[in-house]
Each structure stands twice: as C-alpha cells, then as structure tokens.
Symmetry: C2
DNA sequence: TTTTTCCCGTACGGTACCGTACGGTCATGG
DNA sequence: CCATGACCGTACGGTACCGTACGGGAAAAA
C-alpha cells in the first residue's frame, strides 16, 4: 500500500536490520536482496549502492546481531547484588524472557548455519564471550577455575538445549513456564555442587 | 566418471536416502531434485516417476530418518543390566558416539527447520518418544512420575545443547572428550537428586 | 518373439534470485 | 540558479531450480 510520505532514503543500517529480521523469519537463506528490497519499499538499485553484494549484507547483519544481542542481558544480570543472584537472573531472563522472541529465532537460525564462513567466526566470538562471563560468575562464587569453566559450559549447554526445545517442540515442555520446572532446572544447573542450596539473602 | 556397470535402476528408497544425506550436508534446502539426480547419476525423469514432487521426497526422507535413527541407540542402552547403567550408556553413546557423525548433522539440520510443516510432526514424534523413554528409566530408578519427567526433560535438553555446541562451536569444549568433562556432566545430569552417587552393583 | 509395462532421458517453459549497466531524481553548496 | 554527487529505479543477462511432456529402451509377461 502507499507509504504516504514514509518513503525516506535508506541507510546501510536499514538494510542490515531488515536482513537480520529476515534471518529470524527464514534463516540465512532468507537474506535475499530482492525480497528485502520489496519489504523496504525499494529496489535492488538502492541495495547495490550501499553494498557490494549479498555477502556484504550478511556480514553487516551479523555485525549488528553481535553488537545488539550480547549486552542487554548481561547488563540486567550485572544489576543484581551478588554472583548467585546474577546467575539466577541471567538464566531466568534468558529462558523465560526470550522464549519465542525475535532474538531467539535469530539464535536458532544462525546456529543452524554455524558452518557458514561468515557465521562461524561471529558465533564463536559470542559463544566464548558468554561462557567466559558465566565462568567468571561461578568463580566469584568460589568455584575453582577449571570446575567453574565446566559448570559454565554445562549451564550454557542447558540454555542452548532449552532454546532449541522451545523452538522445535514446545509441546513437550510443561504448559506454563511459571511452573516449578524453571526452579527445578535452576536448582540443578545454577547451584554449584560445593555450595549449599540455600542462597545468600 | 563412468560408473562401469553400476548403473542400475533406482528405487524410491534410493532417492530418499540420498535426500537424507543431502539434508545432513546442506540442510532441508539441499533437498533439490536436480543436484540429487546428478549425484545419483540419473535425471529428473527418473525422479518424477517415483515421486510426485519435491515435497514427497522430503516426506520420504523424513520417514526414513524417523525409522532408522531412533532404534539403534535405545537397543544398545537396553542391553545394559539396570536402569542406571542404561542411562549412563544412553547418554555416553549419544554424546561422544554421535559427535560429528552424519546422524548428528541431520539432527541439527532438521532442528533448524523444525517449523517446516513436514518436519514439525516427525520432530515432535521423535522427541516425545525419546523423552518418554528417559522418563521411564528414571521411574525405574524410583523417581516419582512428575519428577522423572522433569529430570528426563533436563537430560534431553542437555543432550540437545551439547549436540548444538559440538556442531556450532566445538572449540569451546575441552580438547578431548575423554577428559573428565563427560563424567562431570553425567554426574550432574544422570544422577537423580534423591539417589546416592554410588550406583547399584 | 511380440507385446506390455516399467523406468528413464531429453527438451521445454516458468520462477526466483544475483549482479551489472545506466539513466533519472533530488538535495545540497557554490 | 545550476551543477555535483548521493541515492535510487528500470532493464537486462545469467544461473539454478521446479515441474511437465513425451519419446525410447530395457525387462517382464504373453
């Protein structure tokens, strides 16, 4: 339909953001110049002015993802008082908070294309950064370094699997995420074995 | 090159198997008639005799996957004496055994396309079947039903995440899977909380 | 052997996309 | 006011794939 006077010029960022949305909806293969152009109300003529080719658009959208989808959650966790609370907050936000959001679908889509030459390095950076953060939290809880790393790995793995499960077969999960399941998982995963179950006040 | 006299007639099964291989290598989108025909040394003329269209091939390959990739692991687990050993065996086989195999890549690829109308039902059936089996094992260990289900869900989630991690960013994992990490995870996941760490003899 | 059925190759039209060429427009600043 | 450069549309060729039409050969039946 007529966009009235909304038809402004487009920036490379606009294209990158649209491409990221496309990834969330149809995977990396959905980053196609002509369909995205149509959605933006533009044509390829615009695109090929801002980018050299399709790969450049993919790279730009991955950059965008790497910058925007890594900070927010960590910042909210850091707002908590101690490491234990940060861990719980982190895990809670990231499991119930991101359930079925756009960010979640992007994660799943990119995971599926992890072997793609442009995706692999970005994925490796983000994953290592995330695991390193959780490792540090466990260390702050007094867990020795190697064990903290393992614990973080397991926690991250659990989140990965949960994300995947929610996306692929949500029916197998308990009906409401507000049930005891989340607490159950938190107790199993977040709690380092050495520490008692009762958290700090 | 010349296939000498290997050029026999093809069956629908041959096509389905080739399609499944294609899924493992390039995802569902790699199920393309002409490339697969080329790999089989045939043409589309053959394909459209056995199948009505591309979707029928996808459905056939999913059927094949559902039949072949669900039984083997369970059978090996069932060979163990008690439920506890079965669980350990199951988890061990499925994490170190399937690392980077064809089956693993198919799982990841299909997971990525879980929302596809043909994939979704197959995925839902297999997932539910697997979780139900693990749930039964926990129940045999004396865990009450609802708790067994949660425990199985968590174990399955951990496996899912591990599979994903191995596929996407193997560098973050410990160098050798024969390290203590596997034992660490097994202790954390397989062991129901109510039961002691020392298993039954 | 002849005939029928099965199986496959060739050739074609249609679609969706990438990338290029080039011309047109519109906002500036000189 | 008009020229320059940023920005975009149109038109084109090329590729990869889906699906159809049809003919021909090989195997099985008669």
């Amino acid at each position: 339909m007529a966009d009235e006077k909304t038809r402004r010029r487009l920036s490379a960022q606009d294209w990158a953001r649209a491409a990221l949305e496309a990834i969330g909806e149809g995977g990396l293969a959905a980053v196609a110049v002509e369909p995205i152009a149509a959605r933006l109300g533009a044509t390829k003529g615009s695109f090929y002015w801002h980018f050299g080719n399709r790969d450049a658009l993919v790279a730009a959208s991955l950059d965008l993802w790497e910058r925007e989808h890594t900070e927010a959650v960590v910042e909210r966790a850091e707002a908590e008082p101690d490491a234990r609370a940060k861990l719980r907050r982190l895990f809670t936000d990231v499991t119930v908070g991101t359930t079925r959001t756009a960010g979640n679908r992007i994660e799943v889509a990119l995971l599926a294309t992890a072997s793609h030459p442009l995706v692999a390095p970005a994925m490796a950076r983000i994953t290592e950064r995330r695991i390193a953060y959780v490792t540090r939290l466990y260390e702050e809880l007094g867990v020795p370094a190697e064990r903290a790393r393992r614990q973080a790995l397991l926690a991250f793995t659990t989140w990965l699997g949960h994300t995947q499960l929610v996306h692929a077969t949500p029916d197998v999960l308990p009906d409401d995420d507000t049930s005891g399941y989340l607490d159950f998982v938190l107790d199993e995963v977040v709690t380092p074995e050495g520490l008692g179950g009762a958290a700090a006040p």
